[in-house]
Structure formats: structure tokens, C-alpha cells
């Protein structure tokens, strides 16, 4: 059957020729049109599956690789690639776990609803960020508003509003910082948990004693007693003490005890109890950028309105 033979040969030849031609043309083109790029992009791209499925939200693997190299996004968006792929990407980017202790969110307010004075009923959009735009929802302009923006933002269900106060469940908190980013009053910070229980200042009110007393039954009155007892551990930022966590040593319990004892308003609290399991769970995860304490009341950022 000569037809068969020829057809066979022709088919093979056509495909082979095409392959050669393509290889040649593309090889020539890639040299000719070469654009110098971040070498990591190519590595990243090689590590990605190349399915170009668009599932990561980027148009194709190469754009995702580009975004990764620029640091615009996180590894682990590639659904077809899965965890292995994410690990590889992380290796290429040199994303490492440098911190030895996990961060956990801390709410720097401890006044429950009935401990706050000058409260008013609020008719408006029931979110903290909106309520923060209305004066007089409560007397304290620093304290937790209790509408639960943080609870909404928490993907791990670790925040609950208890008695109008945002309360963190440290069994669930992984320290992603989502809550601290949405809090309009900036009273949630990430604290390095060197022990299962950490001492924190549970108030953010930076006003003078009389003003604090006028708005809160429990707020810190800036008496500086703590700073006198432990001058290294506690520094005063205006009328508000701040714990220096670099020097914080959970083993030196006397120092901590003395601070705790001295505080007339009992605004030093021990919070948290991350379990060993929790620690292990986040040990290999990329830690988010720490949010540093910024106790300015955010209403100062808003435009002056007459």
C-alpha cells in the first residue's frame, strides 16, 4: 500500500518540519526580541504550573510571577500548583521565617459598655469606621466602639464583641493583623507573644487624669506609678505607659507583678494563651508585617468640618 506509506511519511514529515520550523523561529525570535527581565521572574514562572488558568486573579502565570517578584502579592494564590508550588515560590523569593515568637493581636481597651461614661444612642451605619465619624457615641474618643469591624475582618473567628468590647480568643488568633488594619481607632496592635500570657496596657486614652475619669471608669489615668516601679520595662508616651517588649522577659515575674500591683486602675492585664499547637501551626507561615502601636486618636486625621 504505497498510499499508506506516503501518508505516514508525509504526516511525520509535516509535523517534524513544523516542529523544526517552530523551534527555529521561536528560538530566533526569543534571541532577537529578548527583553532583559528580573531573573527571578523566570524562575518563578518555571515553578508555576503554566496552566495560565487565571485563578490567581492575574492574567496568566507570567503576570503572577511578575507581581511576585515585585513583591505585590503573596505566594499561595496558585490553586493548580497547590502547597508545593507555594513553598517553591517562597524559596525562590527568599521569604523566610525570621521571627521566633508569634505575634498576636491585642486590644488596648478594656472598658466594657457600662464602664464607659457619656454614652449616647447611635443611629447610623453600624460599623466602627462609620461611627468613628460621629462625635459623642461615647465619651472616650480612644476606646473600643464595639461595632465589631475587627470581628468581621477576622477570618479565623477569633474576635467576639463581649459587652461592647472587642475580645480576642487566643485559641484562634494567628496574628494576621487584619483586625488591627481595620480598627479605625488604631487600638489593636500586634504584640510579640514571648509567653503564653503576656502583660499589656489595656487602655489607649492619652488624656489627663481628670478627662479620663470623666469618660471612663477604668481607663489609665497616666499616674506613672508603673514607670517608677519598672522604669526600663515601662516608658511613658505622654500620659500613657508603653511596655518595651524587647526587654520584656516572661521569666522575671517579680517585675511584672510589681507593675501589676502598682497600677491603681488595674489597667495592666495578662492576655492570651496560645497553645503549642497554635505556635506550631504558624511556625512555617509567613508572618505579617507588625503593626506598631499608634495611639493617636484618628479623628485627628479627618478634615476639619465646621
Amino acid at each position: 500500500m504505497p498510499t499508506t506509506t506516503v501518508a505516514l511519511a508525509l504526516a511525520a514529515a509535516v509535523l517534524g518540519l513544523l516542529a523544526i520550523a517552530m523551534g527555529f523561529v521561536l528560538g530566533w525570535a526569543s534571541r532577537k526580541f529578548h527583553v532583559a527581565a528580573d531573573p527571578r521572574v523566570e524562575l518563578l514562572q518555571a515553578a508555576l504550573p503554566g496552566a495560565n488558568c487565571g485563578g490567581c486573579g492575574y492574567v496568566g502565570c507570567s503576570e503572577y510571577a511578575g507581581a511576585l517578584a515585585e513583591g505585590d502579592t503573596t505566594v499561595g494564590l496558585c490553586a493548580p500548583g497547590g502547597g508545593d508550588c507555594a513553598q517553591k515560590l517562597a524559596d525562590i523569593l527568599g521569604v523566610e521565617v525570621t521571627e521566633s515568637c508569634p505575634y498576636r493581636a491585642v486590644v488596648h481597651c478594656s472598658a466594657h459598655r457600662d464602664q464607659r461614661l457619656q454614652r449616647a444612642d447611635y443611629d447610623g451605619e453600624r460599623t466602627c469606621v462609620s461611627a468613628n465619624l460621629v462625635a459623642g457615641v461615647q465619651g472616650c474618643t480612644y476606646g473600643c466602639l464595639g461595632f465589631g469591624d475587627c470581628a468581621q475582618a477576622c477570618k479565623y473567628g477569633a474576635i467576639e464583641i463581649v459587652g461592647g468590647l472587642s475580645t480576642i480568643n487566643y485559641e484562634k488568633c494567628v496574628g494576621c493583623g487584619a483586625c488591627s488594619r481595620v480598627c479605625p481607632r488604631n487600638i489593636i496592635t500586634l504584640v510579640p507573644f514571648k509567653a503564653e500570657r503576656m502583660m499589656v496596657v489595656a487602655c489607649s486614652n492619652a488624656d489627663a487624669a481628670a478627662d479620663v475619669r470623666a469618660v471612663c471608669e477604668v481607663g489609665c489615668i497616666g499616674c506613672k506609678a508603673c514607670a517608677r516601679v519598672a522604669p526600663e520595662l515601662v516608658t511613658m508616651g505622654g500620659a500613657l505607659p508603653q511596655i518595651n517588649y524587647d526587654l520584656y522577659n516572661p521569666e522575671e515575674s517579680e517585675a511584672l507583678e510589681s507593675v501589676l500591683e502598682k497600677c491603681p486602675r488595674k489597667r495592666y492585664l495578662f492576655v492570651g494563651r496560645p497553645t503549642a499547637e497554635d505556635l506550631a501551626a504558624v511556625a512555617d507561615e509567613e508572618l505579617p508585617e507588625a503593626v506598631t502601636a499608634d495611639f493617636k486618636t484618628t479623628v485627628d486625621d479627618t478634615e476639619w468640618r465646621g
Binding site: V6, A7, M22, V35, C53, G55, V59, G60
Partner: protein, 231 residues
């Protein structure tokens, strides 16, 4: 005149009535994946239209000269080897491989070319090119053309093939742009959690497909109307 009517009909058919996405379900992946923002979706649509035209052109050429039964190139080879003129060499079994090869390499070539010489264009449009390789709309257009090149009752030439490609590309752009507009709107909506993402997008696509079903029969209407107008 009849050819012109046929071209118009093929174009309208591919763009509206048998819209690639909403009727033939080809190009669903980018339709769902790249329809979150109107600008991006529009860029994708333009890129698809461009690539679909190029690759249909190339594939038509390959089919016409090599792949179809009785194509000149294998016939010439056959005859120069001493075969008889009666026997046809049919290489159409290679169609699929060659099509996907041609699509992949032309996309890559265009991508490299644009990236090197028109960086701004690459930013806005070239980034979509790799994604298009796995877009079934491109291959589908070539396959449709192939079908009509094998079909004896209605043989297609290059103009018909290009009308289909262009219509398909524009229909895809239309669908994805509408979808993107709606999805931007959906971002502000209170969609039930289980439906968020692909679920609601598919349902919107379903309703859009229902709306496009309204065009059913337009081909016939236009054909009749053009017929009576030209008479």
C-alpha cells in the same frame, strides 16, 4: 452580493446569535477569570479578537494547502513520487495538532514581538497573550472553519473564515465586557456566600445567554430582509 450576505450572516451569527461564549461555551475560562474589571476584560477581548484572526488566517492557509483532502502540497509530493493523480492524500488527521501548534507559536511570537517593540502595548494587551493559548475560542474558530471546509454543501473560503473569526472575537469582547461591568456591580452586592465568585458569574452568564437567545432567528430575518432589499 450573495457572498456579502453570507459574510454578514456569518459575522452576525458568530457575534450575537451563536455567541462563542454564551452559545458555544468556548472561552469560558477567561470569561470567568478575567472579567473582574472592565478595563482588563476589554483588553482581553481585544487580544482574543486579534489572535483569533491571525490564527484563523494561518490555520485556513495550512488547511487549504496541506491538510484538506486533495490539498495541493501533499498532492504535489505524491505525484512527484510517482503516484497517480486519482488518489487523494488526506492529512486532515493532523489538523488538531497543527492548529494547536500554530496557535501556540503564533501567540508566543506575537507576544515576544509586542513585548520587544511596543512595551506600552504589551502592558495593556500583551499580558493577556499567554492566557489565550489555552483559550478554546481560538481553537474552536479554526475547528468551525475546518468543518465548513470539509462540508460539501457550503464550502468556505478565506473571507468566510475571517468573518467567523472576527465575529467570534467581537462577540467574545462584547460578552466579557458586559460581564465585567456586571461583576464590578456585583462586588457591591450582597450575594449569598455559597454563590460568590464563579457561581454567581455563571448564573449571570446564564441570564445573559437567555437574553442573547432573543437573537434566535435573526440570521433568518436578516437573510430574508437583505434578500428583499437587494431584490
Amino acid at each position: 452580493m450573495e457572498t456579502l450576505t453570507a459574510l454578514i450572516l456569518i459575522f452576525i451569527g458568530a457575534a450575537l446569535i451563536n455567541n462563542f461564549v454564551l452559545h458555544y461555551f468556548v472561552g469560558i475560562c477567561p470569561f470567568l477569570g478575567v472579567s473582574r474589571r472592565v478595563d482588563t476584560a476589554f483588553g482581553m477581548g481585544c487580544a482574543v479578537t486579534f489572535v483569533i484572526s491571525i490564527s484563523t488566517l494561518l490555520n485556513w492557509t495550512f488547511t487549504h494547502f496541506i491538510l484538506r483532502p486533495g490539498a495541493p502540497l501533499p498532492a504535489w509530493v505524491w505525484q512527484s513520487l510517482g503516484g497517480s493523480a486519482q488518489t487523494q492524500i488526506d492529512l486532515s488527521v493532523l489538523s488538531y495538532i497543527i492548529y494547536i501548534f500554530v496557535i501556540a507559536s503564533s501567540v508566543q511570537f506575537v507576544e515576544m514581538y509586542v513585548r520587544r517593540f511596543f512595551p506600552p502595548l504589551y502592558k495593556s494587551f500583551g499580558v493577556f497573550l499567554p492566557l489565550i493559548t489555552t483559550n478554546c475560542a481560538i481553537l474552536f474558530a479554526s475547528l468551525e472553519v475546518l468543518k465548513h471546509m470539509q462540508d460539501s454543501t457550503e464550502l468556505w473560503g478565506l473571507p468566510q473564515a475571517l468573518a467567523l473569526a472576527l465575529g467570534g472575537g467581537i462577540g467574545f469582547t462584547l460578552a466579557i465586557a458586559l460581564m465585567a461591568g456586571i461583576r464590578e456591580e456585583l462586588d457591591l452586592c450582597d450575594v449569598p456566600r455559597a454563590l460568590r465568585g464563579a457561581g454567581i458569574a455563571l448564573i449571570v452568564a446564564g441570564i445573559m445567554a437567555m437574553a442573547f437567545m432573543g437573537f434566535t432567528g435573526v440570521e433568518k430575518g436578516v437573510e430574508t430582509a437583505l434578500g428583499s432589499l437587494l431584490r
